[in-house]
Symmetry: C2
Subunit: 399 residues, 2 copies
Amino acid sequence: MIVTPQRLHVDTPLPLRSGAVLPAFELVYETYGQLNAARDNAVLICHALNASHHVAGHHADAQGQPIPKSEGWWHNMVGPGKPVDTERFFVICANNIGSCFGSTGPTHINPATGQPWGADFPVVTVEDWVNAQAQLLDALGIERLAAVMGGSLGGMQALSWTLQYPERVRHAVVVASAPNLTAENIAFNEVARRAIVTDPDFHGGHYLRHGTKPRRGLRIARMIGHITYLSDDVMNEKFGRRLRPLAEALRHGDVATAERLAYRYTTQDVEFEIESYLRYQGDKFSEYFDANTYLLITRALDYFDPAREYDGDLSAALRRARADFLVISFSTDWRFSPARSREIVKALLDNQRAVSYAEIDASHGHDAFLLDDPRYHAAVRAYFEHRVGAHLSLPGGTA
Amino acid sequence: MIVTPQRLHVDTPLPLRSGAVLPAFELVYETYGQLNAARDNAVLICHALNASHHVAGHHADAQGQPIPKSEGWWHNMVGPGKPVDTERFFVICANNIGSCFGSTGPTHINPATGQPWGADFPVVTVEDWVNAQAQLLDALGIERLAAVMGGSLGGMQALSWTLQYPERVRHAVVVASAPNLTAENIAFNEVARRAIVTDPDFHGGHYLRHGTKPRRGLRIARMIGHITYLSDDVMNEKFGRRLRPLAEALRHGDVATAERLAYRYTTQDVEFEIESYLRYQGDKFSEYFDANTYLLITRALDYFDPAREYDGDLSAALRRARADFLVISFSTDWRFSPARSREIVKALLDNQRAVSYAEIDASHGHDAFLLDDPRYHAAVRAYFEHRVGAHLSLPGGTA
């Protein structure tokens, strides 16, 4: 499946939750499958922290050939014959405002100054993203979604869709998410932000004007992130206390060397495999991700809290939802634990919503929502096939 | 109880696990209570990451008056009438080598260069610390300890004492500890170290020569540490999602202002209480702690692994222990979880050691080992009164 990003330019000013107004904006998005004649088979996917509009399929090179390793971030979930089957559903995903993958964000030019927005880019919230996504649906002529779906921060957007546009959503699939962040979650976000903001190359958020970027801070932020995405269990399985040189010797079948290897006793060099893994992830991330985007997106996570206007009463907050729900959590996810998903389920049941809930026994922590777990995918497949699909005016797809 | 730090100078070279040799060293230490005539009522306390030899009592000012807030870090545990009762036991604690509270460490002068050691200070291990502590006991004329006791990294030293000097320890009290660090623990240490090492003010570890210190890195390291010391539960209790300005207005009884307060929508300023708390802790720590010490002590944690020489077989590793044990863990401690303490207990039982084990239901995470929990303190008190005390040649103390 070859896919080409598209672009929507919106000239209508977008009022933001913060009180600021974005005078105009662009959304980069991709679609997969065909919108049916009744325009009722659209599924909107919402992306999480460091992902983009590129959910599924491959991008093509100049010769039209698929670029190797250019699969979308949820390609195991979305595509022809996949749990979210693009032979039946018309799937859409837009890069969120404030991100660094094409939609209007802090690396773009602020029309008021002619300089990159940098730290002056307005704070954006989950609610703002949903409003922008609604404008994309308007442009595509889609009045009502068959489903909105997302994991983690994407799940917060899916949930918010059912509150901001209750009549426009038939089904919401909320995976590995939460009704708000706990203090511990905010704390991890804050440490990551401090690492970025206190990097001397941050320059108050205007590093682009200085021809640099706060790579050190981004590396630390990403390392913290990675620890919290994984479970203790899977880290022990994948890395344990294995030493880095030992692992390398064994990879080359050099058991004799491996056996001689002992601690090297170093405070600054890599000793354990896990250290090497984290440094590699940090380095990679610091090259492609924008620091101001990191601040904006972690703040969107922190701020999301639909119950806040209802004195913390989540059931009251979810009263206006009209969608049916599939809620999924993973047993070892300590960042967005099953208990948080159960809070959502309870609040929905308090409002007599139809809710399916699956708590998947998986060892991979928060990361599990991106992985190809058979029970997880079977639950999503069944829900789309029998529940979301049941509402389509043309069962079986666009034929 | 007024206490004065003492100093032991050792001219015998100390061979270290790494193969390096420390040509000479000084230990700063404190003692509490009186050594009895049989010299068999000594209890050695081992300190954890950022603590010192100052366990209990107050330091005095020039007039001999107790300095306010100068209580030792375990003053609720050690002292007259406390669970470790200094009217009965002679308690000793030494600042570990490599630390920054007086004992020989990276801020001291390297005799070979006439410059501060800085990053050239040799890597020290739990085993090295125990060897240095043994020299202190020799100097104090103590052949055998009534007990060795520690929490967290201090618990690792207590455990190591029973393996390195099995005949010199009657009882070991191992609190909130583990037989080694998990990959996740090493990962958190590594992120903290990277934050320090990549701070431009680190200067390869020779920041003292540059008249500076890597405060930014130390702040981040401490923030990460604080998150992992606390439980999710206690963070939600203490901070939850409370906003900082809101909390301040309420402190001044200004409910009208508090009610008007909403999100301020900022990526760089403090918004939530938890952020303010972490920044404060980070700032404080970066002023008094040494960065090279942080690297050394986290590495000592990473390297500790008595089972390593036994192909991971902890029971085999603990075979030479001769002490009786009290092992204590805390239900919400996810840094050194109860499961890790149970591994120690199981391995000791495999070797027919006498072990008492208490798993304390406490909400405070790893921090609980420093707090005044009645069930925890009762368990320690009973153990010292009835088990450790039973071995004293002069029951009832030095009378």
